[in-house]
Symmetry: C2
Subunit: 93 residues, 2 copies
């Protein structure tokens, strides 16, 4: 496990798919799990973080960081900018 | 203007509509503008913040806070939970 924690990229699968992935990471002993998403999947990443925090690991996990940024995607000359989000969840001691 | 700064609710209008609203607030002298969104509009709020920061007010505005949460919407017995985001933009001195 890197210092950054385990990263899960949120994309086209269902919300519950990613919720399960987060749970499995914490269950395997991870102290920190980072959700990354871009474009329209940003809303989904927020849903995943909130469901994990409120419904499934209540009082066991907290959101320690929420960072937004911009990335370039595609190849020249079709590069376009897309918004990204990173949400870090950490297991409480 | 409240201490919390001016709040803009991001919903169904186009991204550029909200970008303009943010620019007008800063132009009118606001030191802080807060974008709020819920559900699928969360991705749009992130786009608005990133466009203002990177393309329009480069080096003049920074994202000072990005907070996610859950709200109940609807009336009993049809209450459901929806994710929310708050992004605070602040004018640099």
């Amino acid at each position: 496990m890197s210092e950054q924690g385990n990263v899960i990229f949120v994309g086209r699968k269902s919300v519950m798919n990613y919720v399960l992935a987060v749970l499995l990471q914490f269950d395997a002993g991870a102290k920190k799990v980072v959700l990354k998403a871009r474009g329209k999947a940003i809303s989904k990443a927020v849903d995943v973080a909130e469901i994990v925090k409120r419904r499934l690991l209540e009082n066991k996990v907290e959101i320690v960081e929420c960072k937004i940024d911009t990335e370039d995607v595609g190849e020249e000359p079709n590069v376009r900018k897309v918004s990204t989000i990173e949400i870090a969840l950490e297991a409480k001691e």
